[in-house]
Symmetry: C2
Subunit: 565 residues, 2 copies
């Protein structure tokens, strides 16, 4: 499931040249003398000349007939009115909710987003205009359980301008209500002329629910450590796009940042003694995510992608020179995996546990004498041993109450042996999804040609148009595709560039996964809305890159409006 960074860089560099034009560079070299050298002491004052030619224009109207909400709700009607929202907007929670701290906290958060330009101190509300004064949330179930398939639907009713002063939000549970709150916040806009937050096009009636139950984003804390603050910011931003699963690729070859109480030597594989997470940190992340309606799916990738495990326990390596896949012949290997999974179970309540199983090169096993010997004794080929390994780990995970998730290789290599509740995570092969569901397995779609965020040359349109149900005709087949996930592999992503690499492209996939297919099929219609969503991310402190750049995460090429870049 990992990515071809070098190739990506090569493509990237050539493209950059193509764009800034080789001729220009050569001319620049001729005139500047030392373009390839260190730098000139004196910069030409050419920018002001560009400024001189710039002709400012009247401000663009960014209001339009389109619904700005991202992702697009399933159903809605709207009118032609406008309502003012009282900055002292009150939250009223109805229904069977006994403890509503998640709702109250969320309401506070969203008030922070909605009323960013407004101070209650200076407030003089007009007396002759209807004002929205209360947000009434009716939550039917008291359950706080967040799992795969938890109902996220909601209805949002915003009255006509001359009617009642309450907005109604109804949902089966708090998580649906959180989605509705996000939608509500996106309908609210500060009007710089009236200086009030207004909702245009009232009345609104929205009935919304997700198309897929699994809408994921992968983060990778092994290739680069991501501090808690970064992970929390990513979770915040996921909620803005209604993504609902944080796939936490915790450990890999390069580093093992997480504390494992059962095997305290394991985080000796961290980069440094501070680039680590305690188990309390992990629990903290899970709870932070839950309060935003987001599940955390941890990953323990074996038997490959695991060299860092052996820093603390060298016996997990076949030999010090041949560090992975982990030693299949050793009981200790499976004891450690059992210990990790048991520790994981205490902090990761999600139904699904990702067990990796990808990109296993068994050369090491064959070349290591004691493993080679063991294989012979057991009459196993290395390929058999790979299957045995993965199945053994699946069994351990299932005993702990998880449904196992594996990258596609275990399916393509020994698909018939997998536990029937396995979720196969498609990433590499073309047209694999129909094969997976035809064998009755559930499936998560992450095809790397368009849903790997570290592939910087994949533009948002391809993220948007990637249809998980391609070539699946029957309802049974379609229902086995539980959703999709965009993957932010960490080889070149750290806290300095991760937000700009994820956004806005992850949002394109998020609409594909949330909105009805017929509403999410035109990139032309989506573009201005995605640009608006990008500006919304900026307003909320998320460093989303320009939408229209060819290469992801590059800064804007020239001055201009956020809505136009």
């Amino acid at each position: 499931m990992s990515s071809n960074r070098l190739r990506s860089m090569a493509v990237n560099s050539m493209g950059t040249i193509g764009r800034t034009l080789m001729i220009f560079l050569l001319l620049a070299m001729m005139f500047e003398g030392e373009v390839c050298g260190y730098r000139s002491k004196q910069w030409r004052r050419s920018f002001s000349k560009t400024d001189m030619k710039y002709k400012p224009r009247k401000p663009l109207q960014i209001e339009a007939n389109e619904t700005w909400v991202w992702p697009m709700p399933a159903e809605w009607t709207s009118g032609e009115g406008t309502l003012i929202v009282d900055p002292k907007l009150e939250l009223v929670v109805q229904g069977s909710l006994s403890e509503s701290d998640v709702m109250e906290e969320a309401f506070e958060r969203y008030c922070g987003h909605i009323f960013v330009h407004q101070t209650i101190m200076n407030l003089r509300l007009p007396s002759d205009v209807p004002i929205l004064q209360r947000l009434v949330i009716n939550v039917i179930s008291d359950s706080q359980t967040l799992q795969l398939g938890t109902d996220e639907s909601y209805t949002l009713t915003i009255p006509a301008s001359d009617k009642a002063s309450d907005v109604y939000l109804e949902a089966s549970n708090i998580y649906g209500a959180l989605r509705g709150l996000e939608t509500f916040s996106q309908l609210c806009r500060f009007n710089f002329e009236t200086k009030f937050v207004q909702i245009p096009r009232t009345p609104w009636s929205i009935r919304d629910k997700p198309r897929f139950q699994f809408r994921g984003l992968l983060i990778d804390t092994s290739r680069h450590y991501l501090p808690l603050e970064t992970i929390k910011k990513v979770i915040d931003s996921m909620a803005y796009a209604k993504l609902n699963v944080l796939h936490w690729h915790i450990v890999d070859t390069q580093s093992f940042p997480l504390e494992i109480p059962s095997y305290p030597g394991l985080w000796e594989g961290s980069y440094t003694k501070t680039e680590r997470y305690t188990m309390e940190d992990a629990a903290n992340i899970v709870e932070y995510a839950r309060r935003r309606g987001i599940n955390v799916m941890p990953e323990l990738d074996t038997p490959g992608h695991a060299a860092s495990w052996g820093v603390g326990y060298t016996q997990l390596w076949p030999t010090p020179d041949c560090q992975q896949p982990l030693d299949v012949s050793s009981k200790f290997t499976f004891e450690v995996i059992g210990g990790i999974l048991a520790d994981f179970r205490k902090v990761f309540p999600f139904d699904l546990m990702h067990l990796g199983g990808d990109e296993v090169d068994t050369t090491c096993w064959n070349e290591t004498e004691h493993i080679h010997h063991w294989l012979k004794e057991k009459d196993l080929t290395p390929h058999d041993a790979y299957a045995t390994f993965v199945l053994e780990v699946q069994k351990t995970a299932r005993k702990l109450g998880w449904a196992p998730v594996n990258w596609e290789e275990p399916f393509t290599e020994f698909g018939d042996l997998l536990s029937p509740d396995t979720v196969v995570h498609e990433w590499y092969s073309s047209n694999l999804v129909p094969e997976i569901v035809n064998k009755g397995y559930r499936c998560i779609v992450s095809n790397q040609d368009v849903w790997y965020l570290d592939h910087l040359d994949v533009e948002w349109e391809l993220f948007y148009l990637n249809e998980p149900l391609t070539d699946l005709n029957s309802r049974e087949q379609q229902e086995l595709v539980i959703g999709g996930e965009v993957c932010m592999w960490g080889e070149t992503a750290d806290p300095g560039d991760i937000e700009a690499t994820i956004w806005p492209r992850a949002a394109a996939a998020a609409e594909r996964l949330w909105s009805p297919k017929y509403l999410a099929n035109s990139t032309d219609r989506a573009l201005p809305r995605l640009q608006r969503f990008r500006c919304l991310l900026h307003e909320r402190g998320v460093g989303a890159a320009p939408v229209k750049n060819y290469y992801a995460r590059e800064g804007p090429e020239e001055p201009g409006s956020c809505y136009d870049q």
Copy 2:
């Protein structure tokens, strides 16, 4: 004062090629067939091969004998002990401070930074080890005035491990105490083995004060709108590096985002009707900055860099085709400037008002009939009129109680005519500072060859080694250099890349401006400390780019520790 973006891009592109090696690219083209084309559907699975070769190692010890505090304090002594910090650390404010909400708020903030990995719930403090339980802050003056030259000194005393349980922080005023709190927070480190926050190398005795009174960072909200959240995050991060002036280049040719109550048509020059700031927003920014010990210096750049003004008032343009410099012949021009400055005065309390005055090309004036006529009538050359314009604006600002700041051109063009309290902002000419101070003017140093953050090919070492007092021998001369400023011009910087463009390089300048010269003169000694500061920024949610990359704001090139990139 603006920058040469195109050239920077050219240098950038060529460098990238140099680095990834042209030969590799050509080979890649041969093998892949379509490197310059759109993209291949199938990515090679080469990354896992790189992973396979990766040999993880024991975690690096990032403790060391160096003082990690950035910027380096003026004087300190430390020992060999260790203290545990109680997560229930208590704030005690002594001295004459009647209202200490700024202190209490700051303490809360810093507790958030210090105890990020720790929950009080799980706390079991050891009974046999001394614990730091109280932070006693003694603030001598009750004044909340923050101005140029406000005393920022403090002393911080952390006891030996076997002594008292209090840490003492003394300062003349709250702003010095804020600096001390930052230093204290940087000494605290979470120990992942003991799971306590500890202070190593106790006892500590620190006496600290800044070398320069003006330590600035420019942001540019005209080339790209920066939402309030982005500006606030920049202010937060400035406080971490003990920078103390946010130079807000509010308007320019491209857009006029700020509300001006006296001339409400002016923000018709904003990019869109939402990329705007109300006057309340500006006041909010100023107060937010003050609570972190940071002054906001606004800029109103005239007569050039002002085309956006005319979107709302076309009569400010010489002609619609010739939009700047603003019409020098019209009384209305100066009425508008007077109105803006009067409005500014209500929200910007800082002593200094930046009046721009740079890069004025008077061609427009000569070519516009009515201005040409007016010049003749007044017997003025265009150059005289430029001087008249700047001096008139200086006069208006001085009447409002400001000392004027101008970019260097008014000094180089008509230096003898400037008001003696003018602060000249050096940016372009080589070796201008001695000339400026020899004429008795105060000076801010921003030489663009090394302190312009949008110059992406200027590495941190050059930021670090730029000495503002070069060639100034007498104390009188030196004292006229009030400090320096790094400039984040916004042509290619928006909320998606601004943090990675500012940091870590601005921190290099920040140490130059804060720490005694003899402590801040070795890039070898600074490097590991700057890397540590970069990781601290990450922990606090600031997206700082790698320190060691040649080009600023590029992501990391490969997996690795934050402390090593």
